[in-house]
């Protein structure tokens, strides 16, 4: 039943001269290329692009798409990624011509609907964050981090302060220190306690008048809410620094706790996690940021503003760090976030968080008898189990378990992150899964743990690709397809 011919590379399927489209005759005068471009800009030969008919291309991509796992086909408990179901109505709304078919150079007057929606989203995100101003511009969560840190750079520069350090807990997402480095900071790691929370003594030792920002993920990557957050924020603020909240885990506290209320000065949202946008589908992503009023003048341009019932893009912001993205950002995923927020309303958003936490705690109760969960019996939206003892006793690793779960029809949890737990499996069920699904997942895990360890090393056995050679891929990466040399 599987069509292995159509899933060959397009280059391998190519036949010279084959076409999918007939272009109409040009209705403007044509000119030779050489007259339009300098010779130095012209290649000697056209690029070797594959040549195929339309049905071949459609079969290629359609068959490839059936080889994937997705939230539409499988339970996907990928910790930290909040792989919740993506409601189909959001797709329909994002595809409305007034949303999907506008052009960035249209005059504002002809874009009032979309601009009103974006303005509303700015306000909703500010309310959910408990902060004052929002930029929808960043194109991903990590770019949101970078943008917020550049805002902090501009803020401190304006105040005449030199603060070269960003503090990051050792349990943080790798993007935090990476964003700090890209914004020109030196990032300094703050240790966690054995319980997985910020080590306050270590924070105090590293915090001083050189500290610009403390970046914290709360709830953190171990699925725990760091209740010391007020104390942490007071310490950092007293030292003159800012608190950045990595909003990756907002799904756990939506409508219950607001980062601005517990001391955050800036944060990003991941619309594709918290607000049900598709991960890597449906167009490019977004990572809106929210900041306190004192940081608002430095936000990137443009910001959507309302003047006398008329919506416009405001570029006249003299202290702005400038542009971080073209035009008004990636609106597709923002429209979906808006639709999601409006669909659920304030009470519904709160219930989302409550059910995400309930589902995670239920699954934790089912898993903890199978694998140790070092951080205990309670979690927020996700928890981290460890296969360290299993590895020591049976020789089976977290990777082996993850790969074998694929054979049982479940996407694997996140493995080997966070780095503070050995052989970690980070499990986040989200609120959109039923009890039956969670039970089936736990049963599959129990079944796998009863299998001989030696058999697990070869898993998965039922997927189109079994186990790629990660070491060889990292040491000798093939970064570009090359044609076979012609004899």
């Amino acid at each position: 039943m599987r069509n292995t011919r159509s899933t060959q590379l397009l280059f391998e399927l190519s036949k010279p001269g084959r076409r999918g489209v007939c272009f109409p005759a040009a209705d403007v005068p044509t000119q030779p290329l050489e007259r339009l471009l300098p010779k130095s800009a012209l290649a000697d030969a056209p690029p070797p692009l594959p040549e195929l008919a339309e049905p071949e291309v459609v079969r290629h991509f359609t068959n490839l798409s059936t080889l994937n796992m997705s939230v539409d086909t499988h339970f996907y408990p990928l910790g930290s990624c909040t792989m919740k179901y993506n409601p189909k109505r959001n797709e329909r709304l994002a595809a409305l011509p007034g949303m999907a078919h506008v052009h960035p150079y249209q005059p504002d007057e002809s874009l009032q609907g979309l601009l009103a929606l974006l303005f509303g989203l700015q306000q909703y995100l500010a309310e959910i964050a408990g902060l004052d101003a929002v930029s929808l511009q960043p194109a991903a969560g990590a770019q949101g981090e970078l943008t917020a840190l550049l805002v902090a750079v501009a803020y401190f520069k304006d105040r005449g302060e030199r603060r070269p350090h960003v503090l990051v807990p050792d349990s943080a997402h790798g993007t935090n220190p990476a964003s700090a480095a890209m914004a020109g900071f030196e990032s300094i790691t703050v240790r966690s306690t054995p319980a997985g929370l910020v080590d306050l003594d270590d924070l105090r030792a590293k915090l001083d008048d050189q500290t610009a920002v403390f970046m914290i993920t709360n709830p953190n990557t171990l699925g725990m809410f760091d209740a010391q957050i007020r104390e942490i924020a007071d310490l950092v603020h007293k030292a003159g620094g800012l608190i950045y909240l990595d909003g990756a885990n907002m799904n756990a506290i939506l409508g219950i706790a607001r980062p601005g209320d517990f001391g955050a000065d800036m944060m990003h949202f991941n619309p594709h996690k918290t607000f049900s946008g598709p991960h890597g589908g449906g167009g490019p992503g977004a990572g809106p940021i929210a900041v306190r009023a004192k940081l608002a003048p430095y936000l990137p341009v443009p910001v959507v503003v309302e003047r006398d019932g008329h919506y416009a893009l405001d570029y006249e912001r003299p202290k702005s760090i400038g542009r971080v993205r073209s035009f008004f950002g990636n609106t597709g995923v923002l429209v979906r976030a808006y639709a999601y927020i409006r669909t659920h309303g304030p009470d519904g958003l709160r219930r989302i968080a409550e059910n995400a936490v309930l589902n995670a705690n239920y699954l934790l109760s089912q898993v903890k008898g199978l694998l140790p969960v070092p951080q205990g019996d309670r979690c927020m939206h996700e928890f981290v189990a460890t296969a360290a003892r299993l590895k020591q006793e049976k020789g089976a690793t977290a990777m082996d378990l993850a790969k074998r779960l694929l054979d049982y029809g479940f996407h694997a949890p996140t493995v080997y992150f966070p780095l503070t737990v050995r052989e970690s499996l980070m499990i986040e069920p989200t609120e959109t899964e039923s009890k039956e699904t969670l039970d089936a997942f736990a049963a599959a895990l129990a079944q796998i743990l009863s299998e001989p360890a030696a058999a697990l090393h070869d898993a998965p056995l039922t997927t189109p690709i079994s186990r790629p050679d990660e070491v060889r891929a990292a040491r000798q990466p093939v970064l570009r397809w090359q044609p076979e040399p012609v004899e």
Partner: protein, 137 residues
């Protein structure tokens, strides 16, 4: 030039999993530094190592390089302060030396000590083993 493997009992260890062996070379105390066998096993499959240039000075606790596995990138921390007088370039192309012979051909750098007293702060093998046993659970 290839040293015979050291017995782990003769080494000192940093809590960050680097090992040190001190010997006298041309009138100076020189520390050979590597990564413990426990840490190499925990890192799993190694794919890349970045080592410093000879002549650089490092402080105890400072990063002198990076080691990358299929799981993560980790900093390598110098257990002692001083000038780097030798670097094991052979390891970069033969990462298997680390898993095969962590305390011998898998050595990483040699440091001419600037403060011998720092050695007292490091763990002996028994204390390091105890730390590893705790971390494994």
């Amino acid at each position: 030039m290839t040293p015979a493997s050291f017995a782990p009992q003769d080494l000192r260890f940093a809590p960050t999993h680097e090992w040190v062996h001190v010997s006298a070379e041309a009138g100076a105390k020189v520390a050979t530094v590597g990564v413990s066998a426990f840490a190499v096993a925990a890192l799993t499959d190694l794919v890349y190592i970045e080592l410093p240039a000879v002549g650089r000075t490092v402080k105890a606790g400072e990063s002198f390089g990076e080691i990358e596995s299929v799981k993560a990138v980790s900093d390598l921390y110098s257990p002692v302060s001083g000038e780097i007088v030798a670097v094991n370039d052979d390891v970069a192309n033969h990462l298997e030396r680390l898993s095969e012979d962590a305390y011998g051909r898998g050595w990483l750098i040699k440091i001419r000590l600037s403060d011998e007293k720092e050695l007292a702060a490091l763990l002996d093998h028994a204390a390091y083993e105890k730390q590893c046993a705790e971390e494994a659970h």
